[in-house]
Structure formats: structure tokens, C-alpha cells
Symmetry: C3
Subunit: 328 residues, 3 copies
């Protein structure tokens, strides 16, 4: 049996040493078969990825600095199990170093923006698979190129902290040059106590990116876990200044998760409204999914979603997918 | 001494836990010096790679799901030790997730195609180095762009199983779109008992890729280990429909491996015949190589190969290479 | 707590086995905030990286072959923590396999060139951050495209050895083709005894790369550790044959490191002179920096540097940066 070893001098020497300092390799592969039947054009059967989670690999670690302080790092990149990640492994999912103490966490590097937490936490499908609301309101087309930092930002200078049931996250990212990026500010505040979770976040960017002037986004999410069912609500409003008239996009999500049999049922209804000047269009997505666990790390997943839309906004289609997820 | 640790909480906690679940980092570096003397043009001395094996790095793991079932993953990409992998690490060598049980193995993702097993198993040089037959009949030039899936396929839906001395592998890969790829079907059956190994495989693709219509390939390999010598035979026939007349390519390999001194001697004779309509050309390659082991993981390797060919088919040349291989 | 394991069968089985063979994951993240105020143009505040060390990740390992011999490998690539390494992880920092014994070390692959050791060892700032001398004399602009192998070379065939207080490094890299690269030869000899370190290196390349004919470089470095202060000196002369007249560049560095408080102070003065035919220009850089350690693996770092230059040579500017470094 061919095995390869990672040097573990300190671990072998002392269990205490291991507690003080560790590096973890982690990853996830989520792949399946997808059948999409668009209103216009031929149905396509394909190998899909990321039905319920992002296929990824990364390394992270924590070092105890003493005195209640620690240093940490986290680098993580996407995997494409269907094609072998032909663009090459990068660490654009997250690349951060942190200093953590009684004051909270100072985090530097490429990271998720504060508003993204609301998108993923208050969507039963997170931000993956046919059922996720991000498919519709995360796209440049839906937004008219509304935001350059809907998910992550380069050059993030972040502060995160918990105060009892409350937690906050703030990020600033400098513009760096007149053309390359925006000056980004974002903040999120959350409250988690017993069955109730509430988060509200807002972000604004100053700059011009390919016609996208000063994008702003605010979102709020609420969930309440009743045990047999966990309903959730998410509302996002986004705005972009444009010479041809401002673009405004609002997104509403009503969703739920529910333990059914050995697994978890997910369902959501999403409504997207876009105004460009006086022109209004909207689209709707309904989705249902089920996760059947084979273990804590491995599961079968299936999703069904249908998108309906005003003409010229989002492509109308019905999609089905079934697959395997394995974390490591 | 600067060492870095991989977190091993479960391992430290329990040997049993480790048996149930593991992730392995593995890799290989195979690099040397090559001198190629072509019939036309100047001789070139270069740093070569992959004399007897592919330089690569990867991660793989298995999780015991109980009840005779397990989940597994395998991601692996090429290394270029001569240049530092300037194109970036990807996982195009293999990116799969598997569900394994009494029924066999269901494997999803980018993987080797069934016919490739015959190419590598019944060539004394495998598919690496100056001596491999894949140098000649794996090339698009030799095939007239015959096959898009000679080695691996994206989007593979595979089934593998063993039945006593027999094993089978099947792969289907959906076309996904009208232009991007072919609809692939491939199957292999093998028999391994005592000194005898036999494999036969066939594959067909439906689609049009840059003028390559409906490629088909069938190959068979036989080896018999007499102890002091292991002769092997491989025959492949490939076909491509083209407006200008069908292309047919046949490849014959006669080879052997033999334990000599502390190491292994390899030798092969390869003949490639190509017909495009009424035009026939052929080429021959003879090769000899030797592996001198320094340990199970490290060896010296040397290969010599000579290619002779009808004009305009494959470049005639004589090549020599010597190098080091180290696996980890 | 989600943890992932690296298979460690041999380690678990035997401490002795671990001593014989190991693979180490290692890395470094060095990120901060930089403010650069150029003489011409707007000041820029940005997230910077590599203030005092290169952000990187790699794998290395050693195998005991018995009889005083060992095999080793080392692959390492750059990280961009500010942007998530968007170009993808490669191993261009180093990709080598080595055979080590009483004779010394034979090392094959992409590696640092012998002259680079002098640049990094005798600069208080190494080759990172605003304060490093490599910022000025490593650039193609400063050299007129003088050298294609100032830092590393592909295809390196290296020999390294120690003889008491002396050590030597030699590298040859074949040209491989008429157009792709130069035929490289470089050699370094060093002496390290007690507080004194001296290194001298020279390199020459034969070939034509985008107008750069037969670049040559020689450098020497001296350091003497007085305990409370370690002064260091570095002198480099580089030459390039050109149709329009030869280019000559000389670089002088006077620097020091000194333990101050819990950390390390660094300072340097660098002078660069360039002659192209009869035209002479020069530039100067002064820099000061301080490292405040939080642990052996984590530190705060700050650098200040000012560049002054004759018109048209190097951009004049003053820069400040402060950041965190964390190794793993």
C-alpha cells in the first residue's frame, strides 16, 4: 500500500504541542448529473458540480501565541471534479491571515464580503446547486453588472467579533489604483440566540468598473428553527448609478429546511425585481431538494428548480440534478 | 528544523479511527537529461521529465461508510520539475469521487478511459519516456486528430467491478453541448490469473470535433510472466470518419520486461500503420530501457529509442535519456 | 470540529520509520498595507505582500537510502494572499529532486541560481519588501533586460557540497533550443566560520534573448556578526553585450541587522550605476525596517524606503508598509 507521510515531529513529540499548533488539509467534492430543459433551445444533460456545496480544497491552521492570542491562516480554492480544474488550482475562495484575541479577529487578504454571509446563511440551498437564489441575483446579467464584490473581495482588511449573542463583521478594501478595483466598505451584524437567527448587512463601493458606478447593497435575513421545520427569509436591495438611469434590484427569498426521514428537505421561493430607469422586469425561481446522508462526510443530493421570467431578463428553464458529495 | 503539521486529531485519538478514514498526499518526480538526434535538424540536449513515470502530485482518501460500503476521492495533477509547472497545478490527471460496495465501484468525474488501461498495462514503458508506444500512436499527427479521448475524458460516469479473475470497466461521458465534446462510450474487460493477463477494450465517440467524426478505437493486450522474462503484446485499431476518406490506424507492440541484476530491463518494438483513403504510411519504433532501484521509492532510469518512418508521417530520430525518479 | 487527516500508517507504526522518510507541507503568508508616494503621480495605498519574506506554499521530503545516501525533493510556489493567487498555484519557486551523499548533492530541476544566494544572504531585507535591493537591480529596466536568470533557472543541473567551513554550488542549465533559453553556467563559493560569512559567485549565459546577448554577473558578499550589530556588504557587477553598446551595471549595498528590544532592526543603503555605451545613470535606495516577533512563526513587520534616481532610470518614490507574517 503506497502511502505518503506528512512530517509530524511536534505531534509525535507531544500531544500538547499539537493542541498549540496545527495545519489542516480539507476539501470537498460534490458532483452529479444535471438535466436542464430551457424554454428556448435544446435540453442539455451534463455532469454538474456543486449541487449542495462548493467543490474545493484548502489548508488552514492556527497557532497559539499565548496570552489569549492566536494567529491563523486559511487558503482555499475551487475544484472542478467534472473536468479536473483545467484553469489550475488557485486560492481565490479565501486567502487570509488572522490575528485573534480578546479584541476579536483582524483578518487580512482575499475573503468573503459581509453581505455574502446573509446570502448563504438564509438560503436553504446556500449558494450552490440549481436551487440557490444566488443563481439569479448573483449574476451580472440580473444586476446589469451591478456589483463587483457580491461574493468576495481582494485586499480585504477585516474585523470580526462576538459579543454574547451578537456578532459583527466589517471589511474595508482599498481601491489600489484608478482602474483596477473599487474602494469597498461592508458591515454585517448578527444575532443568534436559541432558535432565532437574524443578520443584516450593507456594503458600498466607490469607483467605476466597466460602467458600474458606486454599487450599493443591503440585505437582511431571518431564520427560526422550530425543530420539525426551519423557515427562513432573506431580502436584498441593490443599486447602481448609471448614465442611462439607475439600476435597482430587489430579491426576496422565502425558504425552509426540514428534517425528513434520515435526511434534510430544502425548499425555496425566490423573486427578483429589476428596474433600469422606468423599465421593470421580474423573475421567479422555485426549488426543492433533498439530502440523504450516507455518513457525516458523504451524502446523496437531489435538486429540482424552475425559473420563470419576464422576456429578456433571466432564461426560463427547469432543471433536475442528482449527485454525490464527499468531504475530506 | 522547520516542520509543518497536518492536523490529526482523530488519528491521535484512535488508531481505529484512522483505519476508517484517511487522506493521503502522494506524488512523484521523474526528471533527467535527454539527447535527441533527429534525422533532420540539430541534435538537442534538454532536461527531460517522465522517463518511466509521470511527475505528479495528488490527494486521495477513503471513508468507510459501514455495511461493506465506502466513499473515496482521488485528485491528481501533473508536475513539470524541469520548469516548475509554469501552467499551474491542476487536477486533470484524475478528479473523481467514488461509491464502492459489493456491487462494484461507481466513479464520477474526470478519469482515464477504458482503452487507456490496455495502452499502459501492455507496454513495458507504460506511457512515459522515449520508449513508450504512446509517443507515436497517441499523437494527433499520427492519428490525423483521430481521438479526443485517447487517455482521459471529462464528465466520466464510470462503473468498475471484479468478478474473481475477471474485471470490467465501463465509462459514459455525456456530450454536454453541441460543440464542446463528444458523447463517449468505452468498455474494458480483463482477465488476470497466475502469470497470464489479458485485456480487451473498445470505445466510440459520437460528435464532431474539429473535423474528427465519430472516432472509434479497439485494443487488446496480452502478457505472460515466465519469471525470468515477461513478454507482452498489444494491438490497437482506430478509425475516424472524414469527408476526405476514412482514417484507419493500427498499432502493434511486441515487448518484454525482465529482471536483470538488481533492476528491470524493458524492450519493445512498435509498428504504426496509417491509411487515409488509399494513402498508406507506416513507422517503427524500437526501444530499450533499464531501471536501477536505489530503494522502493527512488531509482535511476535510462532509455534509448529509435523511430524510423515513411516520409511525412512521424519524425525520424534517435533518443537517449538518463535520470532519477523519486516517489513520495 | 471539521478536521482532515493525512494518512500516516508508517508514522503510527514506528518512530524509526518516520525518521527515515517524511514529507513536509510548509508555507508562509506575509501580507500588509503599503503606502507609496511617488515623485510623479498620485500616492497609492494598497494591500501589499511579502514585506519580509515570500508568501508561498510547498512540499518537501527526504528518504534515507542507506549507506549515507538519501533522496530528496522540494516543490514550492508563490502565494498572493491579497488576491488569492489568481494566476494559479505553480511550483516555479523551486521544483527539484536530489541525490545526497558523501560526494555532496546532485540536484535536478528548476532552482535558484548560485548568484542569487549572494543577493539574498547579504541584504538585511533579503529579497522581499520595500527595503530589498533586488527591487532596483533585479529589474529588467535597471539592467536593460540584462539577465534572464537573476533569481532562478529552469532545467538546472546542480551540484552542492560542504567542505568544513567552505561550501560550493554549481549549476548548469542546457539551452534546449535555439530560441527558448540560454545555456547557463553559474558557480558560488562560500566561507562561514564563527561571526564571518563570505560568498562570491559568478554566472554567464550564452544565447540571445530578446536582444540580451551573453549576460554575465559576478557578486560578492561579506557579513560579520558582532552580536549587537551585524554589518553586511554586497557588490554586484553585471554586463550585457548589445549592438548599441554594452550595458554595465554595478550595485553596491551597505547594510546591517541589529537586535533591538525583542525584535530585529534592518537598514541598508544601495547604489546602482548603469552604463549603456557612454551614457551613465545612477540611483540610490535607503531603507529601514523592524520585525517584532509574536512567536517564532508569527511577527509584525514594518519597512520604510526611499529611492532617488537620475532622470529616466528608476522611478523616485518613498514607501511605507506594515504587516503580519505567519509561517506554517
Amino acid at each position: 500500500m503506497k502511502k505518503t507521510l506528512i512530517a509530524l515531529a511536534a505531534v509525535a513529540a507531544s500531544g500538547a504541542a499539537m493542541a498549540q499548533s496545527s495545519v489542516t488539509l480539507f476539501g470537498n467534492i460534490d458532483v452529479g448529473i444535471r438535466h436542464v430543459n430551457p424554454e428556448v433551445g435544446d435540453a442539455i444533460t451534463s455532469m454538474s458540480k456543486n449541487l449542495i456545496s462548493s467543490s474545493a480544497i484548502g489548508f488552514r491552521g492556527v497557532e497559539d501565541l499565548g496570552g489569549g492570542m492566536s494567529a491563523a491562516f486559511h487558503i482555499e480554492g475551487d475544484l472542478d471534479p467534472d473536468t479536473g480544474t483545467p484553469g489550475g488550482l488557485n486560492f481565490q475562495r479565501r486567502s487570509t491571515v488572522s490575528l485573534i484575541g480578546g479584541f476579536g479577529e483582524l483578518r487580512l487578504g482575499r475573503d468573503y464580503v459581509p453581505t455574502f454571509t446573509v446570502h448563504t446563511k438564509y438560503d436553504p440551498f446556500g449558494t450552490n446547486g440549481l436551487g440557490s437564489s444566488i443563481n439569479q441575483f448573483g449574476t451580472a446579467a440580473a444586476f446589469g453588472g451591478l456589483s463587483t464584490s457580491a461574493v468576495r473581495s481582494n485586499n480585504g482588511i477585516g474585523y470580526l467579533a462576538k459579543f454574547g449573542s451578537f456578532d459583527v463583521a466589517y471589511m474595508y478594501a482599498p481601491r489600489e489604483s484608478a482602474t483596477n478595483s473599487n474602494d469597498y466598505h461592508g458591515i454585517r451584524a448578527g444575532y443568534n440566540a436559541g432558535p432565532l437567527s437574524v443578520d443584516v448587512a450593507t456594503a458600498s463601493e466607490v469607483g467605476v468598473n466597466a460602467g458600474a458606478h458606486n454599487p450599493k447593497r443591503t440585505n437582511v435575513g431571518v431564520a427560526y428553527d422550530l425543530g420539525f421545520i426551519k423557515p427562513m427569509f432573506q431580502y436584498t436591495t441593490s443599486k447602481l448609478e448609471q448614465a442611462t438611469g439607475d439600476t435597482k434590484v430587489t430579491n426576496l427569498l422565502l425558504g425552509l429546511t426540514a428534517p425528513v426521514g434520515p435526511g434534510l428537505l430544502r425548499a425555496s421561493y425566490v423573486k427578483i425585481d429589476r428596474e433600469i430607469g422606468a423599465a421593470e422586469v421580474d423573475a421567479k425561481q422555485i426549488a426543492i431538494g433533498y439530502t440523504y446522508p450516507l455518513s457525516k462526510r458523504t451524502s446523496f443530493n437531489a435538486n429540482v428548480a424552475r425559473v420563470s421570467s419576464d422576456a429578456g431578463f433571466i432564461a426560463e428553464q427547469t432543471g433536475y440534478e442528482i449527485g454525490i458529495r464527499h468531504t475530506f
